[in-house]
Amino acid sequence: MIGSGKRMSSTVQAQLSGLHARSEALIELTREYDRNRVPWEKVEDQLESETTDLVKLQEKLGCEYQTDGALGWKDQLRPVVDSISGLAESTRYSRWFDTNTFYKKPIVNGTVALAKFDSGTFVKSNLLSKDRKWKVTLPGPYTLTELSENKHYSTQSELLREFASVLREIVLKLNSVGVKLFQLSEPSLVSWPYRETRPSTDELEQGIDALRSVVEGVRAEFVVNTFFGDAGPIFSSLQSLPVKAVGVDLYETNWETLPQEAREVGLLLGIVDSEESLVEQPKWLVDTASKVQGKLSCPSIILAPNTDLKFVPRGIADSKLSSLGEAARLLQGGLS
């Protein structure tokens, strides 16, 4: 039993999302590789070993959906950007929202299209369990547009539509190799450190429409996640999407202010703080999730980090994931 004391029919599960942390050993190897001191094969071996460890941890925690942790991704956009033509070769790095980390900024100087797709750059399917469902996190079309520099299309809306189309193609291709769940990250729908004023409601609605065009009619499951900002103002609009769940960052969104309304869409609760080292205790996670569920009565709850766990060292990231798994187990008991 959770929340208000009513018996719920909700399901609760823990999920990892986005880029997980690299270990000190992998960090050292990638640095050495960068200095031309070790061959890539050594890095690849370590990557495989650490991905396998992460997969085993998710198995142990009973995660229904598995990710590979995207340990090889150079930033949150890179495999997508590297698959698209119409972007300039550039070495320009920009700050990733309000963090002390950076991403390679896509410079759009031509018609964007899916050019060179390699599923292996998105997901290490050979290392994932065959008896679990696979999950991949991708940037959403609005965030990809916001974080790019548009030197080709006459309007941002045009670029947004094109990126949505390319992302849909990527989703379909990944779905065909076995990926069942896609998390589309849309921090730019709620966080605007690059702008002087927040986008208009119309513009945000265009972003949500673009998401719809990615997911509609695709035989896969989707989660749309928001983080780095308050999801409150667009929460209801996001729930109109045909997705499994909508995500909120509990460290930015005051859940008590979220609208209390009948829902068909689940909630991804960004309940573990990926930017802090303190490992949240399962009991606190259970109490907090119960309070949220007590108010929002969601059909399903996904307990997750608020954003990529790459912002903490590997040991801490694993501990946070373990707390999520334990909390989900405790909540499942309470909910069944």
Partner: protein
């Protein structure tokens, strides 16, 4: 300030020469010593052999001697380039701006590395107890500089806001904080951490530096524009004013590489910074390489207007040369692009200085500097860039007169 318009100063770090980095860990080879001797000759360090002998002795103070020698080289490099203020010689005695401080702060522990992008990482520590200064951080370096410098010096220190922003904050979060939401409680803990760091670490350090004779302290706050939110800026102002309270010393703020709105928001708060005599800012990075003193050519300097329009009336240290990899092209008269470097021409520097002066309206308020520390450039490149910075500033002086 110098006795001429547009005085020149450095902003922070220089690359560390191989003999300095290697020498701290292992014996130096003939090749290392040859490199050191060559630079000694270029920088006019006449007693190189005596100094080198000291460093090569395996005495207990070998490392200290090596750091002092490296500091001497940095000071002479700035001097040769024609700067008026040589800082602390390129921060040769510091590992890195964050670690150098944190390793001397009680209550903090390094947890490991975090990925920045690609295969680049930074080390991150956690506040797991109340912070305090376990030992002086910059004082020994300053004393060495005092003995070695021929010109004015300025002590760059890492600002408390940046130290907090780049750290985890377990202790202050666990203390229980005000606020109804997790966001408010996190913010409250951040403020507690920041003000404790100011009181227990930064102010004692400034006190010691001032007592040792420091007359200008530059507070480096690169993280300041990471969070372009009013609550963050208000917290920064509170911490700044507490940091400098009661000290008889010149203070300046160095902030760089903001996102699109960073400077605009910062500008609204700078008039509230007490005793902030100078804002040392990065502009060249965002500027065009074209010559000219109109707004089109000098697009990178438009943000200066925000500070003027908001009533900041102190000096400006204007970044007139780029310090990172340069990936663009440049007209021949604007500089020489080679590999990942651009050596800006004196004429380009001149135009940047003149345009900035035009915006500020009072040339006496303009200091000239690189965008940030030159630590990612080789010494050859750093010297060439700084020399042209100096030549270009001289052209600007003539033009303005």
């Amino acid at each position: 300030m110098g006795d001429h318009l547009f005085p020149l100063h450095e902003v922070g770090s220089l690359a560390k020469p191989r003999w300095r980095t290697k020498g701290l860990r292992q014996p130096l080879t003939t090749s290392d010593l040859n490199e050191a001797e060559e630079w000694a000759s270029r920088l006019g360090i006449v007693n190189y052999h005596d100094l080198a002998k000291e460093v090569l002795k395996n005495g207990p103070d070998r490392q200290r001697k090596l750091l002092q020698l490296s500091t001497l080289y940095g000071l002479r490099l700035f001097e040769k380039a024609g700067l008026d203020n040589d800082g602390v010689g390129g921060e040769q005695q510091r590992v890195e701006m964050y670690e150098h401080v944190i390793k001397n702060v009680g209550g903090m522990r390094f947890l490991g590395h975090v990925n920045s992008f690609d295969y680049k990482y930074f080390r991150k520590a956690v506040a797991e107890g109340a912070v305090d200064r376990s030992q002086p951080i910059y004082v020994q370096e300053f004393r060495d500089v005092q003995k070695l410098a021929h010109r004015a010096v300025k002590v760059p220190i890492t600002g408390p806001y940046t130290l907090v922003d780049w750290s985890y904050n377990e202790y202050y979060q666990a203390k229980g904080n005000e606020g109804s939401s997790l966001k408010e409680r996190k913010m409250s803990a951040r403020r507690d951490f920041l003000l404790d760091l100011v009181e227990k670490v930064i102010r004692p350090e400034i006190r010691d530096l001032v007592e040792a004779g420091a007359s200008w302290i530059q507070i480096d706050e690169p993280a300041l524009t990471t969070h372009p939110e009013r609550a963050e800026l208000e917290m920064f102002v509170e911490a700044w004013n507490e940091t400098v309270r009661g000290f008889n010393c010149k203070f300046s703020d160095h902030t760089c590489y903001p996102n699109e709105v960073g400077y605009r928001l910062l500008a609204e708060y700078t008039p509230e910074l007490e005793k902030c005599s100078q804002l040392t800012l990065e502009f060249a990075n965002r500027d065009s390489p074209e010559l000219g003193i109109d707004g089109g050519a000098r697009e990178g300097y438009q943000a200066l207007r925000y500070f003027v329009d908001n009533g900041y009336d102190g000096e400006f240290g204007i970044g007139a040369i780029h310090v990172h990899d340069y990936t663009g092209v440049a007209p021949k008269q604007s500089g020489l692009v080679s590999g990942r470097d651009i050596i800006e021409s004196p004429e380009l520097v001149r135009d940047r200085v003149l345009y900035a002066s035009k915006i500020v309206g009072d040339p006496a308020k303009i200091w000239v500097n690189p965008d940030c520390g030159l630590r990612t450039r080789t010494w050859d490149v750093a010297l060439a860039k700084l020399t042209n910075l100096s030549k270009g500033t001289e052209l600007a002086r003539k033009e303005w007169a």
